[in-house]
Symmetry: C2
Subunit: 205 residues, 2 copies
């Protein structure tokens, strides 16, 4: 079974064993003959894939009233993979979603590492530092690099741990946050697990 | 006594009675004959003002070892105005600084309203919302506008109130944060109060 999570710039495949990525720009959707179960946030590619019989859009099998209309399908799939957890998906945006007893409790959206770093350096060249992921979260900073690192990380940390639930890190930047959330579990294939669960529920494979 | 807080784009004057602003671009520093006590983060203008006898740079009168080298002089002046408080200065950056018994405890830097709003819309046009400053901070959001508003505001809120101190709001966007921090005091001339205190301490007026 081939699964695919399609973003704005890349297609992330998982064949049940290994994962790999392809560029949206150079991808030829006709090059794959087998069935592909996918989710897609790229509007242009979605229009193309709609026309292909072997590409099956899993967003059509979601109970959408459990979520909200404009919620990203990648966030929904991550939530579908879990019963009790806080999911931190660190990509271009960093989303935090809470699931309790299999029920979606809500979530919020924070800038991803790269976006937030750009924000600080755009405000002033004096704030052009990379984040210190080892910054002490126990005391207020007294240098510029820690002052922005704390601004980005500490207040995210406080909110995430306030839910007293297992923390799952996923997304391209998951590893960077491991030092901030030392008890968290990293699971880079979380979205694919959610997709598999939807496939099973909908009985389409 | 004329006070002036000089940023990258404007000069903010306070004559002890009223405050007013001038554009850095169109400002003629020779147009003022009286003494001006100033702080300045604009490197170009600072070079000019250094040469003028009646412009007195208050940064020279700071006990810098109470702070840290690269800390903005505007933050230092806000802190100098207080003995026990958390100062939230909401400008292009949003700085949070803590003073206890007149001692600087440290602080952090967060993006200002406009910068953070741009960050979200740059990540995706689907996140191009203005912040809802009335967002409920008690429960996790279930719509996109609240998901970014909560991301920006709730986690700032948690950190600021965790210090259990009086909260002072200052800076151009102070009013916007009044609904988030209902017990806070708004003081838009806080920096000028700090400047006056330095003038008095240094006995230069």
């Amino acid at each position: 079974m081939l699964l695919c999570d399609i973003g704005n710039t890349s297609l992330h495949f998982f064949d049940g064993d290994k994962e790999y990525k392809e560029d949206v720009e150079h991808f030829d959707s006709l090059s794959i003959q087998e069935d592909v179960f996918y989710i897609c946030v790229n509007p242009k590619l979605r229009e193309v894939l709609k026309l292909l019989k072997n590409w099956i859009d899993l967003s059509l099998y979601i109970e959408i009233d459990k979520y909200y209309d404009t919620m990203g399908i990648d966030r929904i799939m991550a939530v579908e993979a879990l019963r009790d957890a806080v999911v931190v998906d660190a990509g271009s945006a960093l989303t935090v979603d809470v699931v309790k007893d299999g029920k979606y409790e809500g979530g919020f959206i924070y800038p991803g590492v790269q976006a937030m770093s750009k924000t600080y350096s755009d405000i002033s060249s004096a704030l052009n530092y990379s984040f210190n992921f080892e910054v002490s979260l126990d005391k207020m900073p007294k240098n510029s690099q820690d002052a922005i690192s704390y601004g980005y990380l500490k207040i995210l940390y406080s909110e995430v741990i306030s839910h007293n639930q297992e923390i799952i890190l996923t997304g391209g930047d998951a590893d960077k946050f491991a030092s901030i959330f030392p008890t968290a579990r990293i699971d880079k294939t979380l979205i694919f697990k959610g997709m598999k669960r939807i496939i099973k529920k909908a009985n389409i494979c």
